[in-house]
């Protein structure tokens, strides 16, 4: 039941992107298109709809009737949308119907691949205060209406015009004006310098971001502004939801939602993709618990669950040969997500307003033991707030002197005790730290249900061993506890950074560091440092590949580490056993064309990569 809230916690973590500015790096991104397994240059083929290659689809009508199991991909997600594909009111993030959305581009970090998709190319204005995107020819909405740059303009205008819509932040903050130069060319004018807009707002990567979902103007312009939020965007008879995606929604109810291959898809018609996907139907079923998911995987009844606990993955793999994970059949069974976990402090609340106390906590934590006990060793520790991705690792390698000096991985109870004594604490009869009034400071570790169920108890116990009167807490209102500042310490992930540290640093926005008594949701740690803010601002104005970047990064991180608003513990892993029985070529560490989570925005790329085995 509470796996849903696990998703909620995941989705929270992208706080970064709001006002990203300046970067001298328009160029690397535009060079990026590479040869991908599924996409081919458009010019090689004539636009042919009549003669599809490969197996002939047994359907003339759409939505389709019953289909063979070996052409149906069954995956677990949260409760299916139940005929509710509302875009503007509800948050479609991780709702499982990302398959119905196509972005300007996709990005897969593990293979460092960018897939230009609806967009063919983009170019930032020389001063960074504008962006021109050119879309492909021949793109059609599922109802046959041609897709044009006007659809994008309408989508962005709507986000700016109507209050309270989902995913409006970036556009509202940055876009001054969106206009269609011609049917295929979008010209954006920014009110500030922003070299990252295409990546943060038009590229699907992970489940991150404030992406603008490009919507059919011809449908939505018939809906009044104040009715936008309530529109469920679902009616199979009318072909809703309309999208450019190869999959439409067949049946959607309480028990499952079928995404069926449509009769035609612009990418095959134009030859951009050489053949139709092997997957004819994607069925989304509700995820309820790990045990059931594992048993269904073993019995080949589903192909892809949500991520599972390490013990469960190991046991599941041992019971079935047709299953594999990102790392094959070996630990850690998964890939690093963008969401490294920290013990985060409420830095405006005593005693954690004192950096010495925060460092005392850091020395009291034994990260490796957390991985070993919580995950039976199937994972890795985190020594920084950044996910262990190549470009970020490279950057961290260059500031080794800083990370060595401030080694959060060091487990040293003496140092911890010394710092606590310096901060004016003494131990009471039971061996717990007390302040000068003899009061044990509140050191409860708040952690969400049930995502941190395996590591939070370990963290709390380690703190107790070091004399902090701590206990793992997972109340239903854990979120409010953090935001209100009731929680002194809480486990949470952070980031958003994938190719450039800025998105993570952006979390510690001084504007969002509300004082105690106010709710603080942007910057939950409430940490605020003028020096840091200045340094971050400089990073904002610097391109990621600028040689200056390393120096700036070093300066920023030195401040961050000294203050330690949160103490990194572990990298976050998605451990997803997948079934190779009906479909193979799942992305994994040897073939990392995309991260394999189907509940992410990048779901379409994974599905396009799958190959049917024909097994009965």
């Amino acid at each position: 039941m509470s796996n849903i809230s696990r998703r909620d916690f995941l989705r929270v973590s992208t706080t970064a992107v709001a006002g990203a500015l300046l970067a001298a790096c328009g160029a690397p991104a535009t060079e990026a298109p590479k040869v991908e397994p599924t996409a081919k240059p458009a010019e090689e083929k004539p636009a042919a709809t009549a003669t599809p290659k490969g197996p002939v689809r047994p359907v003339d009508a759409w939505p389709v009737g019953e289909l063979p199991r070996n052409r149906t991909l069954i995956y677990y997600n949260n409760t299916p949308p139940n005929g509710n594909f509302a875009l503007w009111g509800a948050d479609p993030h991780q709702a499982g119907w990302a398959i119905c959305q196509e972005p300007a581009a996709f990005y897969g970090v593990h293979g460092d691949k960018q897939y230009m998709w609806l967009a063919e190319s983009y170019k930032y204005a020389d001063d960074g205060k504008g962006l021109t995107v050119v879309f492909r020819k021949g793109i059609k909405w599922s109802d046959g209406t041609p897709f044009t740059a006007n659809d994008v303009v309408w989508s962005m205008d709507t986000l700016k015009r109507v209050d309270g819509l989902q995913k409006a932040g970036n556009v509202k903050a940055t876009v001054e004006k969106a206009e269609a130069v011609d049917d295929l060319t979008l010209k954006l004018t920014f009110n500030q310098v922003d070299w990252r807009f295409f990546f943060t707002s038009m590229t699907f990567r992970f489940d991150l971001g404030d992406n603008t979902l490009i919507q059919p103007k011809h449908y939505w312009s018939t809906v009044a502004d104040d009715k936008l939020r309530e529109d469920k965007f679902y009616d199979p008879a009318k072909g809703l939801p309309i999208s450019t995606s190869p999959y439409g929604v067949g049946v959607s109810n309480e028990q499952y939602t079928n995404y069926d291959l449509r009769k035609s898809w612009w990418a095959v018609e134009t030859g951009f993709v050489d053949k139709e996907p092997d997957v004819w139907r994607i069925q989304q079923q509700p995820f309820t618990n790990d045990t059931l998911a594992a048993q269904l995987l073993i019995n080949k009844e589903i192909d892809h669950p949500l991520d599972l606990r390490p013990f469960v993955v190991a046991s599941t793999l041992a019971q079935a040969d047709h299953l594999s994970t990102w790392t094959g059949r070996k630990p850690p069974y998964g890939y690093v997500d963008w969401w490294p976990i920290s013990v985060q402090f409420c830095t405006k609340k005593p005693p954690f307003d004192n950096p010495k106390v925060r460092w005392a906590v850091a020395y009291a934590l034994n990260q490796q033991a957390i991985v070993d006990i919580g995950w039976s060793g199937a994972g890795t520790v985190a020594m920084s707030p950044f996910p262990a991705y190549p470009k970020l690792n490279a950057l961290l390698d260059q500031i080794k002197d800083v990370t060595d000096k401030y080694n959060v991985l060091e487990f040293n109870l003496e140092k911890s005790a010394a710092l606590m004594t310096e901060a004016g604490f003494t131990k009471d009869g039971e061996g717990f730290w007390v302040d000068k009034d003899g009061v044990r400071p509140d050191a409860d570790v708040y952690a969400g249900v049930p995502l941190f169920g395996d590591i939070a108890p370990v963290v709390a116990e380690q703190l107790r061993q070091a004399g902090f009167y701590s206990q793992h807490k997972a109340p239903p209102d854990v979120w409010a506890a953090k935001v209100d500042g009731r929680a002194s310490m809480f486990l949470f992930g952070h980031g958003g950074a994938t190719i450039d540290p800025f998105d993570t640093l952006q979390l510690y926005q001084e504007a969002n560091a509300a004082p105690m008594g106010e709710q603080s949701w942007g910057n939950i740690t409430r940490w605020d440092d003028p020096e840091f803010a200045k340094a971050r601002q400089e990073i904002k104005n610097t391109a990621p590949d600028d040689p200056k970047m390393v120096e700036l990064f070093k300066k920023t991180m030195e401040i961050w580490y000294a203050a330690l608003p949160d103490c990194p513990i572990v990298q976050w892993y998605h451990r997803i056993p997948v079934s190779n029985w009906y479909f193979t070529n799942w992305p994994d560490e040897t073939n990392p064309y995309m991260n394999s989570a189907l509940w992410h925005w990048t779901m379409l790329q994974v599905v396009l990569g799958l190959k049917a085995t024909g097994n009965a």
Partner: protein
């Protein structure tokens, strides 16, 4: 049946619903929570908004959900809405309404819960009556009662786990999950659909019945012993009546009355119990929705489900009140039940 009895019971029915609705309304205010704000916080954080932007969004939704008006006005509107079965929107599933969710999931749960109650009650009552009967050899009781004692205190979800593991996962006799085959579309007019639904309901029903029937049986057994000590039981035997007539008409018939009064109240326990069982069978019904609403803290959905359940129970109690005097002539429609 006198009119005043009927009126009194109807009044009581409304009193119960009103109380439950008021508790629902008062609790969050007592706790000083702002459901919209809390829920929006979670959603807003993923959008990377500025504080001002987020506040604007909260304002929009607060207005949408009507939380910006004075308290008494909110309360009156709320009670009015409850009476019209309108619980507003589910925060998590916006723009789906709470009632829409309750109806579409409830219709999957209802047959399965009703059948569970019916089977556990019938089976438990008969078994309990049989065990409590003085003609049943003592060894039968000695053999059956201890396992029942155990079963009645085992958590239902463990029974569900065991059943799933052996019957569905290992032996593959019955489906593991879902409310009906995923190749079917919900169609209550079709026999094939009913068959599929029934097949999927067997294990969930079984895991509830095993635990629940044991409880009924233990209670009924004690009632039987009491009834057997009554003079009319002795006299019935002295009348030379056939064994079965004594058993059904004189003993069981009388021992049945107290459990029957508990049947309506039991409805509530069953649905809450169903919430875990449903989630173990990935049965997307009302029970697991209740669980989800707790986990997600979807206030309006949570309170909507609670109110609807209380209404169902109150309604069931009302029906029982109407029927009960027919079953027990000592209770007349005129007298207040004590």
């Amino acid at each position: 049946m006198t009119l005043s009895y009927f009126v009194r019971r109807v009044f009581f029915l409304f009193l119960v619903v009103w109380t439950a609705a008021t508790i629902n309304f008062v609790l969050p205010h007592l706790a000083g929570r702002d459901p919209i704000k809390e829920q929006m916080l979670i959603q807003i954080a993923s959008q990377g908004r500025t504080q001002a932007d987020a506040e604007a969004m909260i304002r929009t939704y607060t207005r949408l959900f009507g939380l910006d008006r004075p308290l008494w006005e909110q309360y009156l509107t709320y009670i009015g809405n409850v009476m019209r079965l309108d619980f507003g929107y589910s925060i998590n599933n916006y723009p789906r309404t709470v009632m829409d969710i309750i109806i579409s999931r409830g219709r999957l749960t209802l047959p399965f819960v009703v059948v569970s109650i019916f089977i556990s009650f019938t089976f438990g009552i008969l078994l309990g009556a049989f065990l409590g009967w003085n003609r049943t050899p003592q060894w039968v009781s000695n053999l059956v009662v201890p396992p029942m004692l155990v079963l009645s205190s085992v958590p239902q979800f463990l029974v569900a786990l065991v059943l799933i593991y052996f019957v569905a996962f290992r032996m593959r006799l019955l489906p593991m999950n879902g409310a009906y085959p995923r190749t079917m579309v919900e169609d209550w007019g079709s026999l094939t659909f009913w068959m599929g639904y029934a097949k999927h309901a067997i294990l969930p029903i079984l895991s509830m019945v095993l635990v629940d029937a044991s409880g009924w049986a233990l209670g009924m057994r004690a009632m039987m012993v009491t009834v057997e000590g009554e003079d009319y039981a002795t006299f019935a035997e002295a009348k030379g009546l056939t064994t079965w007539r004594v058993f059904f008409r004189y003993l069981l018939r009388n021992a049945l009355l107290p459990p029957l009064t508990g049947l309506a109240i039991r409805l509530g326990f069953i649905i809450t119990g169903a919430s875990l069982v449903e989630s173990f069978f990935a049965y997307n019904g009302l029970g697991s929705t209740l669980g989800g609403a707790i986990g997600n803290f979807d206030y309006f959905l949570l309170y909507g489900i609670v109110t609807i359940m209380v209404m169902c129970i109150a309604l069931a109690t009302f029906v029982m009140d109407m029927i009960y005097p027919l079953l027990d002539p000592r209770i007349s429609y005129k007298a207040q039940r004590g």
